[in-house]
Symmetry: C2
Subunit: 393 residues, 2 copies
C-alpha cells in the first residue's frame, strides 16, 4: 500500500483548505492508497508524531473544511534542522510513509526540498510534492499562486471602500498592504478603480524603490488636483537606497530570518507623520490603515477561480504522484484569458524552493508609482469582477 502524509505550512490563506481537501478527495479515489495522515502544525506534526487520520473525516465535513479559511491542520514556520530530519525519517519509517505532500509558499517548498534531498541521501523511497499557496503570489514557475486571487480580491474591495470613503471625507489615505518582497498584492489595489478619478492614485511596490520625498511630492501633486489622494503601499517598500523603510521600526525576525513586517502599525504611522509634516499642503488630513491578517483569512471574500484552482493543485499533486511522478512542485499554467482557462503541471522542487518571483517590469508603470494595463489583464481573471458602484462626487 501507498501511505501518504499531508501538511500545511507558512501563513494561512482563504483557500489553502481547498488544496488539502482536493488532495484528500483524490487520494480516497485510489484503492492502492492506504493511510492518509494529516500533519498537525506542518512539519512539527511529523516531529511530534501528531497526526490526524483524514480517512475518518466524512465527506460533508471535508466540503465544509474546503470552504473554511486558514489551515485546518494547523501550520508552522519551522525550518527542519539536520537533527529534525533524523527524527522525521524515523517517524516516516515507523508509519511506512512514502508520499509527502506539503502545501505552502517558497519557505515551505524549501522544507519539502530539504526533506527530499535527505531522503535521496538516505535512499529512503519518498516522493515529495509541494502544493503551492501564498497570498504573496511570489512563487516561481507558476503563472500565479492559489491564495493570491482571494487576498487580492479582499485588497481590491478594501480600496474600493477606501476610495468611496475618501471621496466623502477628503484627505490623504495611505494603506499598507502585505508583501515582503514582491508587490503583487499591493498591485491588486488597482482593480478597485471604477472611474477616472478613482483611487488608488499611487501604488508603491518593493520592485520600484522611492524616496520618502518623492512619495510626498507625488501625493502633493494628486492632492493638488483632486483635494484627495488614496495611496497603496507595500509593507516591503524600499527607499531609493534600497533599504526597507520598515526596517528601523521592527526588530523581530522569524525562523527563516525574515523581518517581521506584519502585525505592526509602525510603518503606516511613520509614513502618515512624514507626509503630514513634509507636504506643501499644510493641515492636510492624513489617515492610514495597515491591512491586517484579514488579507489572508477574511471569510467573507473569496475568488471563485482561486478556490477552484486551489482545489485543482491539491488534486493534481496526488494524481501526478499516482501516475508515477518521483516528486516535484505543482504549478498553474494559464491556457487562455478569455475565457479564462488554466491547468496544473509539475516542475522540480529546486525550481521553486526559496526563490521569489518579483513583478516584471512590464506590469509596473514608467513612473514607478502604479501598474500597467498588462497587469490588470493578468490579475482580473484570477481575482474576479469587483462589484459595480456609483458615486455622485
Amino acid at each position: 500500500m501507498k501511505n501518504i502524509i499531508i501538511g500545511q505550512s507558512g501563513g494561512p490563506t482563504r483557500v489553502i483548505n481547498q488544496s488539502l481537501v482536493g488532495a484528500v478527495k483524490e487520494a480516497k479515489k485510489h484503492s492502492d492508497i492506504g493511510k492518509i495522515l494529516g500533519m498537525k502544525f506542518g512539519v512539527k506534526g511529523v516531529l511530534n508524531e501528531d497526526f490526524i487520520d483524514l480517512r475518518k473525516v466524512g465527506e460533508a465535513d471535508l466540503d465544509l473544511i474546503a470552504q473554511t479559511p486558514a489551515s485546518a491542520l494547523g501550520s508552522c514556520r519551522h525550518k527542519p534542522t539536520r537533527e529534525d530530519c533524523e527524527k522525521i525519517f524515523e517517524v516516516l519509517k515507523r508509519h511506512e510513509i512514502n508520499y509527502w505532500f506539503y502545501i505552502g509558499g517558497n519557505d515551505s517548498a524549501e522544507t519539502a526540498h530539504i526533506v527530499n534531498e535527505i531522503a535521496a541521501e538516505k535512499a529512503y523511497d519518498l516522493h515529495v510534492f509541494h502544493i503551492p499557496k501564498t497570498i504573496d503570489n511570489d512563487l516561481c514557475v507558476t503563472d500565479h499562486c492559489p491564495g493570491y486571487g482571494s487576498a487580492a480580491r479582499y485588497v481590491a474591495e478594501c480600496f474600493l471602500g477606501n476610495d468611496l470613503d475618501n471621496r466623502a471625507l477628503k484627505g490623504v489615505k495611505i494603506d499598507i498592504v502585505m508583501g515582503r518582497n514582491a508587490g503583487w498584492l499591493t498591485a491588486a489595489s488597482a482593480l478597485a478603480r471604477f472611474d477616472q478619478d478613482a483611487g488608488p492614485h499611487l501604488i508603491y511596490l518593493p520592485e520600484a524603490p522611492k524616496s520618502l520625498d518623492e512619495i510626498v511630492s507625488e501625493i502633493d501633486e494628486v492632492y493638488g488636483r483632486l483635494s484627495r489622494c488614496v495611496v497603496a503601499i507595500s509593507e516591503g517598500v524600499r527607499g531609493a537606497d534600497g533599504v526597507l523603510l520598515a526596517e528601523s521600526f521592527s526588530q523581530e525576525k522569524d525562523a527563516h530570518g525574515n523581518i517581521q513586517l506584519s502585525g505592526s502599525g509602525a510603518l503606516g504611522d511613520m509614513l502618515a507623520d512624514y507626509v503630514r509634516t513634509h507636504s506643501k499642503h499644510k493641515g492636510m488630513r492624513v489617515r492610514t490603515d495597515t491591512l491586517g491578517y484579514a488579507q489572508r483569512s477574511f471569510p467573507g471574500v473569496v475568488s471563485e477561480v482561486d478556490a477552484r484552482e486551489a482545489f485543482m493543485v491539491g488534486e493534481a499533486a496526488v494524481k501526478f504522484a499516482m501516475e508515477g511522478a518521483k516528486g516535484g512542485s505543482v504549478y498553474i499554467e494559464r491556457i487562455s484569458n478569455r475565457p479564462y482557462m488554466s491547468e496544473a503541471k509539475i516542475t522540480e522542487l529546486k525550481n521553486v524552493a526559496k526563490v521569489t518571483k518579483n513583478m516584471p517590469a512590464e506590469f509596473i508603470n514608467k513612473n514607478g508609482n502604479g501598474v500597467t494595463d498588462a497587469f490588470i489583464e493578468y490579475a482580473k481573471p484570477i481575482v474576479g469582477d469587483i462589484r459595480e458602484v456609483k458615486s455622485l462626487l
Copy 2:
C-alpha cells in the same frame, strides 16, 4: 410647493446611501414636493451653496447608489457656528427650503438640533429631521442604528478569520476595534464564536475599565489553557483609572473635540509590546491588527436587515414630514426577535443630539471581559448569520 434638502454627515457607513435613496424615492412619490436637493459634503454644501439636484438622478442610478458604500453626497464633521447659521438661513431662504433631512450620528443630530433651534428663534418655517446612522450604535432612543449591523458583520467575519488563523499559527492576537465611547462594535466580535474554544476569548469594552495588568493576567490565563488567545479590544478602552489608554498616543482632535483614535496603529502596538514584556509566558508570539476604515465602508460585507432598515429610516423621515410632523429624529423600534421585525418611529431631536448610549450592564459579563447571551440575542438578528466553518484543531 414643499422644497427639501438632504445631507449626510459624520463617518460614512456601508448602508448610509440606503437612507439617502429611501428618502429620495419617498420624496419623489409626493406631488406636493418640489425641489429635492442634496447637500454636497453635509452642512458645508449649504454654506457653499453647493447642491446636487437629486431629481435628475435616474432610478437605476439611485438603486446603484443605495448599494454603494460611503456617503454618495459627501460628508463633513463640521459643527455650524452662529455665523454659519446666518449664512445657512440666507441660503435656505433663497432656495425656499422648508424641509431639512440630515443623516448622521449624534454629532450630526446636534447639528440638526442647532439648525432647528435657530429656525425657531428666527421664526423661519423649517422642519428638521435627523435620520440615524452610525457604526458605533451609540444613539439614544433607537433600538440600534443603521450602519451598525453591517459594520458588526465585518467585525465578526474578521474575528472568525482571526480565530481560524490563530488556531493554525498559535499565539496571542489582539485586534483593535472602532468605538470611541461605546463597545457595541467590539462586542459584535463575539458573534464569530463557532465552537467552545473559538475566539475572541477576551473582549474589552469602554464600559468595563481594565488595567493593563489585569488584561495581561487574563490573557495569560487563556494562553495557559489553549496555547493561544484572541482578544477584541475597543479603541476607546479605559484603564482602571478611567483614562483612555490611547490618550497619550495621539493628540489630534476633530471639530467636535473628540480625540482622533482611528487611523493609527499606536494603541495596538503599545498593547502588544506591553503584553509581550509583562506576560509570564516568555517568548509568546503576539500580533496585533487595528481594524481600519474597512469597518465602515468595506463593500463585500453587508447585513441584509441593516440595508433594509437604513432604507426604511430614510423613507420614514420623509413620510413623517409629509404627514405633518414638525421635525425630529427617526428611530427603530424592535417589534419582535423571532421572526425579526422592526418599525420606524420618531422622537424629538433633543433626545438624540450629542448623547451617547452605552452598552447596558446586562450585555456585559460579570468579569468585564466579554458579553452575555442577552447581547447575542440582541445583535444576531441585525447582523445576520455568520457562515458555517469547520476546524480540525
